[in-house]
Amino acid sequence: MNTIGNVTGIIANLVIVETEGTTAQNEICFIKHGDTRLMAEVIKVVGNKSYIQVFESTRGLKVGTKVEFMGHMLEATLGPGILSKNFDGLQNDLHKMEGVFLKRGQYTDPIEMDKKYKYKVLAKQGDKVVAGSWLAEVEENWIPHKIMVPFTFKGEYTVKSIKGDGEYAPKETIAVLTDKDGKAYDVTMVQKWPVKVPIRAYTDKPRPFKILETGIRVMDTLNPIAEGGTGFIPGPFGSGKTVLQHNLSKNAEADLVIIAACGERANEVVEIFTEFPELDDPRTGRKLMERTTIIANTSNMPVAAREASVYTAMTIAEYYRAMGLKILLLADSTSRWAQALREMSNRMEELPGPDGFPMDLSAIIANFYSRAGFVYLPNGKSGSITFIGTVSPAGGNLKEPVTESTKKVARCFYALSQDRADSKRYPAIDPIDSYSKYLEYPEIAEYLNKTIDENWTASVFKAKDILLRGKEAYEQINILGDDGVPLEYHIRYWKSELIDFVILQQDAFDKIDASSSLDRQNFMLRRTLEITDMDFDFDSFEDVGLYFKRVINALKQMNYSVYESEEFDKNKKELHKVLKEQQEKKEATAEGSKEKEEVKA
């Protein structure tokens, strides 16, 4: 029998309910407001009063209204049919909702319980299984979707019976399992899981040891993210966060991409809705939308559901990870989620932490990031969730609680700089402020040197060094003037500009340049470093810039042409020509000075 309560207080979407029975923290309940039922979650209990946050508008709600507690936490429905869907933060299928405007109290099924799927059995009668063991697989788009032993099952079970190959719907029982006492349990293709609890259906979670290729040079080359790693992108508005995220979701080497659009602009989500079904997945040739799921809680949708949306997204990612897939999870923006926490904390009159955020903000963020990772499954296969969150720091100031809390847990830091965005140097990831802790992992370094190039990590650190020295030279030039510094400073600056233009900058809107393979990145980095290793001879500082602009142009044209194509080779030759000029000039000067010396002698 469910606990029933009565509303006794209302402050915006915080509602206080007096109950007689038991209620639990994070328990879901429904307020019976007229003909509609408004979903809410318990966030605090004092005596017989439960404080609940309502996932909908509370307009018109009255004291005395009945509330029914459901005896479970907010759950995600997991089964075939999740891919390509657009859900709201509570996993309602947005397409199934009626009307142009969202009606409160309208909840729709996340998956189609009656739709038949082509089904292939994987386990057999008598098999010993545990939570997460694969029983069968069905075809969901092109993904082999595994039907697993529900994650809620504890201990070992035996397959008593299982259906053979055929076509079944998610609601049908496909297997019967028995526990050690011989008690039988029916298993369907669908299971439920509380979103705030991590799914731990894995045997081991090692340190990440390989990188996730994103096709974005400034990330892969300079600050790679590990498969199963975590990263975050803080940046002021207008610094290109959204374009970068979209590009990541298009080009990263992941089986599935899950996007949590958390408290951001609706038109940006519409852009994904409109473009992804049309765009080709560069890796499979299928449509991007087939491997994408979107959890949309735009900024004008109810605030409490915003908090739920990131957990729903993470739970779906964990579900697919248990099938042995590589998942990329993007959350834009985690700051809006933190603000949702702040609004509730404020309404509950909790003592505030820094900037009014709740005191446990750091712990909440850390917990969430820790759900990502590379895991080994019970059957020895592996799966991963790579998580990248964006942060929208107030006033672009990185010394604010959300950025600082995230910095403590995320291992990659991609700092978007306003200056780079203003000068249209995209992606505006600052090469000096950003970092990837994974570069310091010996296992990652070993992996990189083995798979890309034996000198890879050394080259990367060298490139970073050149960028830093270039920046220092630039500052000197700015203070002392073009004429006030040795020519060497100009060369040093332009060598860093070379790396900036050729490696760091990348045209997300160009078909070819938008994504660069590791092979190609290796080639370009080596070529660029060969040039920065050269000695140059110039008559004046003006010549330095003019000359390097030609070198940059040749290399950029290479970035714009198909790798190892005829056009690519043509541009390679052009580069060679430009470089040879300098060589000859240098030799001539060397000759000249030799003659002079001879004359002197």
């Binding site: 402050i11 509370t58 009255k62 657009n86 397409h95 009307g99 609706a266 038109n267």
Partner: protein, 442 residues
């Protein structure tokens, strides 16, 4: 307590608590966000604790006595909508300023949001004739974009101009803390342009209580939704000034003892602003709501909570700046940004539009660098000199807000300037465009 009222109304006369903006009293059966009249002033329920109801009084609580009469309306705030709205001006409560009634049906204000999967991607260009906007920061229907401006800048004038030229079916003006002078200015401009029948105004002037402002954008957007959804019209909503609206939010949150966050603004500022701005939408049936707002800055500071949160919500921002070299107010090409321009430029406008736009801004940036060099006493190269000359003409003929030409003319003007001061290779346009459009003026 004996008073003749309608059946659903309940009347109370004993106030328990009074603050500058709120009153509390014991009452039963009251709905959250329900409207009430307290001593003749409009109020709304903001908090209910058992039988203690707290009301926010929009007009302020000056002079309200503890025995004031409180009548609950049994419904949330709403606006009567109908074609009858066109050509009229209303106060913050949606009552016609010149008196009279509205014929129409009630529409709840601050209603639910549009299902994101029912939106259409914005794709219709809004020409304004101002090159600083059309050429560099093209506006699109369904977009939301504010002017970030200091109080002394002519943002209201520019906004009125944009509104009149935008070919919208309806222009809805939401004036929050508008000076009476500015209100009359808007009225005159629209009247002189013969556009009054397309205008609907919801006005809170500085003469009226600040908390009243909180109703204004919701009223305006409810009217906008009526025209866009039910009449499939293209609606342009002007919100001026959102900083004053936010100030009113902070006053109320302060009176309700909420913990302030950055710059004394309520912690929910982002959600409060997003709720309004996200009403901008392109509907699949052709109707649209486009929002142009004003956020006044203090001393150009965009890190203040209001412009900062706004920047994260809106699709770009427009900056006005006085260019002292040519003595005109221009649309700053560096700091202004329209995030949706990619959806129309070069697609709905001429093919070379994106390239010309970028090239001109790049050259203008070169001029800015040359200027810094000049100010620091370094020698200028010939290129520096030419870019400085170019910048002046670019400012005068294209960036200035008094420009009124169509997009093709803007592009032609740009080529005129390019060819006067530069060689084609210095401008860096695609070869095909140079062949097609570059004019040899030698």
């Amino acid at each position: 307590m004996e008073k003749e009222t309608k059946a659903f109304q309940r009347v109370y006369t004993k106030l328990f608590q009074l603050t500058k903006a709120t009153v509390s009293l014991k009452a039963k059966g009251i709905g959250n966000e329900e409207l009430a009249i307290v001593d003749g002033r409009l109020a709304q329920v903001v908090k209910i604790m058992d039988d203690m109801v707290t009301l926010q009084i929009f007009g302020g609580t000056e002079g309200i006595a503890t025995n004031a009469e409180v009548i609950f309306a049994g419904k949330a705030p709403s606006l009567k909508v109908g074609d009858d709205l066109a050509g009229r001006f209303f106060n913050a409560y949606g009552e016609p300023m010149e008196g009279g009634e509205i014929i129409g049906k009630e529409r709840e204000i601050g209603g639910p949001s549009v299902n994101p999967v029912r939106r259409k991607q914005p794709s219709e260009f809004i020409p304004t004739g101002i090159a600083g906007i059309d050429l560099n920061n093209a506006l699109v229907t369904g977009q939301k974009i504010p002017f970030f401006a200091d109080p002394d800048q002519p943002f209201n004038q520019v906004m009125a101009m944009v509104a009149l030229r935008a070919k919208a079916d309806k222009i809805i003006l939401a004036g929050m803390g508008l000076t009476r002078d500015d209100y009359l200015y808007f009225k005159n401009v629209f009247d002189n342009a013969g556009a009054l029948d397309r205008i609907v105004g919801f006005i809170n002037t500085t003469e009226e209580p600040p908390v009243e402002r909180l109703l204004v954008p919701d009223m305006a957007l409810a009217a906008a939704e009526y025209f866009a959804v039910e009449k499939n019209e293209k609606v342009l909503v002007l919100l001026t000034d959102m900083t004053l609206y936010s100030d009113a939010l902070s006053i109320v949150s302060n009176r309700m003892d909420q913990i302030p966050s950055k710059d004394s603004m309520p912690g929910s500022l982002y959600s409060d602003l997003a709720r309004l701005y996200e009403k901008a939408v392109q509907f699949p049936d052709g109707g649209s709501i486009t929002i142009i707002a004003v956020t006044t800055l203090s001393g150009g500071d965009i890190t203040h909570a209001v412009p900062d949160n706004t920047g994260y919500i809106t699709e770009g921002q427009l900056f006005l700046r006085k260019d002292s070299d040519v003595g005109k107010v221009i649309v700053d090409p560096f700091r202004s940004l329209s995030r949706l321009k990619q959806l129309v430029i070069g697609k709905k406008t001429r093919e070379d539009h994106p390239q010309v736009m970028n090239a001109a801004v790049r050259l203008y940036a070169d001029a800015a660098n040359a200027k810094t060099k000049q100010e620091n006493g370094f020698d200028l190269t010939d290129y520096d000199e030419r870019s400085l000359e170019f910048a002046k003409e670019y400012s005068r003929k294209l960036l200035a807000i008094d420009v009124n030409i169509d997009t093709n003319e803007m592009l032609e003007t740009a080529y005129d300037l390019f060819s006067t001061y530069f060689k084609p290779e210095e401008v860096g346009l695609k070869q095909q465009f140079i062949e097609k459009y570059w004019k040899n003026k030698s």
